[in-house]
Amino acid sequence: MKYFFQIVLSLIPTILGAITIVFLVIHFVPGDPVSVMLGEFAAPEAEAQLRSDLGLDRPLIVQFGDYLLHLASGDLGRSIRLGTPVIEQIIDRLPYTIALTTFASAISLMVGMPLGIIAAVRRKTAADYVTRSVALIAVSMPTFWLGLLMILLFSIQLGWFPVLGSSASTVGEFLHRAVLPSAALGTVMAALIARVTRASMLEVLNQDYVRTARAKGLQESIVHYRHALKNALLPIITIVGLNVGQLLGGAVITESVFSWPGLGKLFIDSMYARDYPMIQGVALFFAIGVITVNLVTDLIYGIVNPVMRHG
């Protein structure tokens, strides 16, 4: 337990760093929320008034200090664009993004790992070549393009799934609408996992203990799944953990293509409006998400590989 708290404490500087970078970057990008909000035909006095109402006329360091003070008491501020508390919007949208990334991860593991294992076990056969080529194409494909292709095939031609991700009234409908965006988002990661699984399995399969297992006369399937895969898992877990950040980045694009009302779409909308508090709030949640997953990955390492438990 003490160990756990130590880890959590050590995360604070990481999150602070992330907040600081995001704060600086968005304030140095040209354009400000007032000019976006008031449109082109605003009177300069009205702009000055709004800028001062929003506190945007204060020095940057003061604004940042003020933001941190509020943050320390759990206040993320109000959205400039919508006028509502940032936290309300984030909580509304969060389940969509969690669902999307979870389904995408699940799909990528369920597809990527078996393919990688098959490719490794049947090295230099047709199955291997096909898997590797498909994986290469999938890794290189931009998510938004893949998303559009999937919509064309599955929604327009076959009519299996809706185009729009939004407005589900039942859980069944929600899941139904989640299939295409999750598949689009999961495909790239599935390809990555397939490649890593293959490489990692191959390395393990060449090791002495596997030869020993085979020499003992064990069945091939037991050698593969009980002996080899267990040790090949570490790099796969690492890839999954490290890629959650990438997955969230992909979610920003996927959510826009599929009109999926998650944090990614909120992030993009807020960026165009220069809605500083909202951008900071979403970025904070993204940072916490990535860090949490990496923490969980660390914990899973310990379970999978006992050697690391006291490391």
Binding site: L82, L158, G159, P162, S256, S259
Partner: protein
């Protein structure tokens, strides 16, 4: 058999084959019996539903179906017609406007009758600085507003202002709200807007949709379409797919290629009339060599507008004769024009002492059609020896140099209410120099604009606007590239849709064909 029915049959047969009908969302019988909603795409989610704070087209779109004004534009046109006011008088000196309200108008959700006090309240809200109304300046000309009796409202102006009805009261600044509803809702007004228009606000799920229901007590009779659902879909290509899959019924588009694909599918009604919008480049007259009229004439002759209309717009736009489109009051085509003529352009440049050409730059925002149009203009200029550097910025970033007046040429895309006063004042009156949007620093028509405001006689006012257009055509404060079409696509079974001119959707005029 068309592709859509085919797709639907496929969906059913495949679903049955696989035995997974519940999974793939075949509509259940109970749902099929519900009244069909009209699903309208908007290009972004709404941000406000309080009229004094609405600045974006999406919010306007939704609010336009909820609220009424004293007067409105007749759907699909730029003519004024009565809304809450049954009629009105203007005093001879043009300084007093008296409106008589209909006595049969009820607020939504039981908020009672719409009275003159609500009108007074709605207008005075703009004036209180604490409300931070975006339209406070629109009412600078107004001295007072009073409720003479329950159904009579009187505005007194500080000076005659002819655009008061067509511009101030018929646009966003003119929506009437219920005093009681505003006070009751407080900070939660965004989720509880009350109007007196054809549709009643039902719900807003951020990022997903806004739902409105037909106002059964609407003073012009309950609308036929029972439910309106507005769906935010930012990307045109995603909206195209949603049209094809039947998930939305009506959408406006920015991208010509998307519009044309849907049009040529033969599945939809597609219209592309010329509206109130113009694309052009404002010339920074404070910077040499643009202070020289010969140089501006040369640039005007150098742009191949017909080529741009034919390629970028696939023939859907029109070659402009000037800044105002034919939809505006007082439009005239009796103005000097500068047909594409590179040789003449080079002669003029030589005459101005720039025989070897010069270097300049064009600043533009990254929304269509500028990223496509700017390189063509660059090539046009290159032909006559003008080296044009292209500076493309995302919209919010583009606003920074724009406000500072820091550019040679700057691209604009305009659309404003049909009364010419507002758009001419914003773009070409000297009071709108940057940070306003008179990016040309043009000051030659101030007096004419002001004269037109004072003119009560419409014909005389039109004559002044004609004079303004002629003056601008001679002075060339900007280069006009196209009058752009409004690109709209809807399902063929929607009847009575009128093209949106001033962001008002007018759903009350629509119904589904039997």
């Amino acid at each position: 058999m068309n592709a859509l029915t085919e797709a639907r049959i496929n969906r059913r047969s495949l679903a049955l084959m696989a035995g997974m009908a519940p999974l793939v969302g075949v509509p259940s019988v109970a749902r099929a019996q519900e009244p069909r909603p009209l699903r309208v795409r908007m290009s972004a989610d709404i941000s406000q539903l309080d009229p004094i704070l609405i600045f974006d087209p999406s919010s306007h779109y939704v609010a336009g179906s909820i609220y009424s004004r004293l007067v409105r534009y007749r759907p699909g046109t730029t003519e004024i017609q009565p809304d809450l006011a049954s009629d009105w008088e203007v005093s001879d000196d043009g300084m007093t406007y008296t409106f008589h309200l209909r006595e049969d108008v009820q607020w939504h959700k039981g908020y009672g009758q719409v009275t003159a006090n609500d009108v007074k309240f709605s207008v005075e809200r703009h004036l209180n600085p604490e409300n931070a109304s975006l339209f406070a300046a629109y009412f600078d000309v107004m001295e007072s507003v009073e409720a003479v009796d329950d159904f009579t409202v009187r505005f007194r102006l500080r000076q005659p202002f002819a655009p008061f009805v067509g511009s101030t009261l018929a646009f966003r600044s003119g929506w009437i709200v219920s005093q009681q509803a505003i006070e009751d809702a407080g900070e939660d007004y965004l989720q509880n807007p009350i109007g007196s228009g054809p549709y009643v606000f039902e719900s807003w799920a951020p990022g997903q949709n806004v739902t409105l229901l037909a106002n059964e007590e609407y003073f012009e009779g309950a609308p036929e379409i029972q439910q309106l659902v507005f769906v935010p879909i930012p990307e045109d290509s995603a909206a195209e797919l949603a049209m094809l899959s039947g998930e939305i019924d009506l959408s406006y588009f920015n991208l010509v290629e998307v519009f044309q694909r849907l049009e040529s599918s033969g599945e939809f009604v597609a219209e592309s009339p010329i509206g109130l919008g113009v694309h052009g480049m404002m010339i920074n007259l404070t910077r040499p060599p643009f202070d020289d009229l010969l140089v501006r004439q040369a640039m005007a002759h150098a742009i191949d507008q017909e080529g741009i209309v034919a390629t970028v717009w696939q023939g859907l736009a029109e070659v402009p004769t000037g800044f105002l489109t034919p939809q505006y009051l007082g439009y005239t085509d009796d103005v000097q024009t500068y047909p594409y003529d590179p040789e003449r352009a080079m002669e003029l440049l030589a005459e101005a002492g720039h025989g070897e050409g010069f270097e300049t730059s064009l600043l533009y925002a990254s929304s269509p059609p500028w990223p496509q149009m700017a390189p063509i203009i660059q090539a046009n200029f290159q032909q006559v020896g003008i080296q044009l550097e292209l500076q493309q910025l995302e919209f919010a970033a583009y606003q920074v140099p724009r406000r500072e007046g820091n550019y040679d040429l700057i691209a604009i895309s305009t659309s404003r209410p049909a009364d010419p006063d507002l758009i001419l004042t914003e773009y070409f009156h000297s009071r709108s120099f940057p940070p306003g949007v008179n990016n040309s620093y043009y000051d030659q028509i101030d007096e004419l604009i002001e004269e037109a405001r004072l003119e009560q006689d419409t014909e005389a006012r039109e004559a002044i606007y004609a004079q303004i257009q002629q003056r601008m055509a001679e002075d060339i404060p900007g280069l006009w590239v196209d009058w752009n079409p409004i690109l709209m696509v809807h399902n063929p079974d929607i009847v009575g849709h009128a093209i949106v001119m001033n962001y008002d959707l007018n759903p009350q005029t629509m119904r589904f064909a039997e």
